[in-house]
């Protein structure tokens, strides 16, 4: 009993060295392990969460169709046209800037060149209207966007009515600019 108690109180390695008392020790070890289960700790590893895109790329899942199937609505159409007009206007400014650097003659020369083409007034008006259209649209829709930034005019009814009003305003600005 005392020996058994010693086995419980001491640690196992001490027990292991007492090889003289093989059988007794083994039974004592067995008694110890039966009484006190050996506790081992594993290092905590965080569960590996695979990123969403990586997982889907690995599984090669298809993407559900979006642009090709979604119904074009006034909201999205006007918004994408606003972006396109903005890009065109940036293109104009870039062309103006780069042209001023690179082209050999000044603006008056090129204006005279266009006048020399002797186009009909209708064609000239149309060409000017096509050039002014992005500006008219972007300006009018820009006003609408600034109005929305004040968190006003955001009901769907208002969005649609201001949308149509904006289109009318854009046309008016375009015609005004083309007539200059």
């Amino acid at each position: 009993m005392a020996f058994y108690c010693c086995a419980r109180l001491s640690n196992k390695s001490v027990m292991g060295t007492l090889t003289k008392f093989n059988t007794v020790i083994r039974t004592a070890q067995y008694a110890q392990s039966a009484a006190v289960p050996k506790i081992t700790f594993k290092q905590y590893e965080e569960p590996k969460v695979e990123p969403y895109d990586d997982k889907n790329a690995r599984l090669q899942r298809p993407m559900s169709p979006h642009l090709t199937i979604y119904k074009p609505q006034l909201t999205s159409l006007l918004s994408v046209t606003h972006r396109a007009a903005g890009m065109l206007l940036s293109g104009y400014i870039t062309a103006l800037g780069v042209g001023a650097l690179v082209l050999p003659h000044d603006v008056a020369h090129y204006v005279t060149m266009i006048e020399g083409l002797n186009l009909s007034p209708a064609t000239i008006f149309l060409a000017k209207a096509m050039l002014a259209a992005p500006f008219g649209y972007h300006f009018a829709n820009g006003m609408r966007h600034l109005y929305w930034d004040t968190a006003k005019g955001l009901t769907i009814k208002e969005v649609y009515s201001t949308g149509y009003a904006m289109l009318a305003g854009a046309v008016a600005i375009t015609i005004f600019l083309a007539a200059l």
Binding site: I69, Q73, L154
Partner: protein
Amino acid sequence: MNTARKDVCRLLRFYSGAPGAKPKKVQKTVDPRRTFKVYRFDGIITKAQPQMKNYDLDVSTCGKMVLDALIKIKDMDPTLAFRRSCREGICGSCAINLQGKNCLACITEIPPDKTITIYPIPHMYVIRDLVVDMTHFFNGYDSIRPYLIRHDRSKSLGKHQYAQSVEDNAKLVGLYECVLCACCSTSCPSYWWNGRRFLGPATLLHAYRWVVDSRDEDTEARLYDLKDDFAVFRCHTIMNCSLACPKGLTPHVYIALLKRLISKIDKKPRPSLETLKYASGNK
């Protein structure tokens, strides 16, 4: 003459998708034998390409809603897979793209068209047929901490009733009804292109819901977490979200108000009723 112009205007509004504008006189009687074109994808194991399958269905033999039609189609072709649960528009499982617009199949009537096209909600990875991977949508929702946070050092969370005035509770109307169906987020082109970092209208609606709740005290931290180029400000007020919402909510309005709160143009008002007024348990 005036009525003709009004009819044209009403039809224009209807076909442009503005809600609340139904044509009164144009009740075309369509033959109940319709063709359903459904997006089918048999899963990655089959190595097949997604394709559209046609199903001929007499809609007078099934219920009025698109979900009833889908269940009837599943009777014909049991391999069709789609999510559904409550059949009353409260669980948000059955979001699909119907005739080009996102909706909940269980509360959307079968439209009076000869051909009805059903796709899964746009720009999501497809698991099977109409079932898509919603993981990042829900991860985004979890990231805004959608629970009440009080700076309570006395660790008495849950022990007291939090008081809220009727006016402050009314601010949550239009915010708490969201069922996280993802119809709005997956109708937003900005979410299509920036879905990993832009939170999307559904999550932003809920972010606003927790910011504006008078009982929540973590407003500063919530607004600070949203103050980057992508989380909120990828919203370009395209407004596809509110046209798509099957519950009639308007995420774009709340996103605009949230943007004003983040940029400190507006401030969250103090609660009109002291939140811990009844904390001691007495009336």
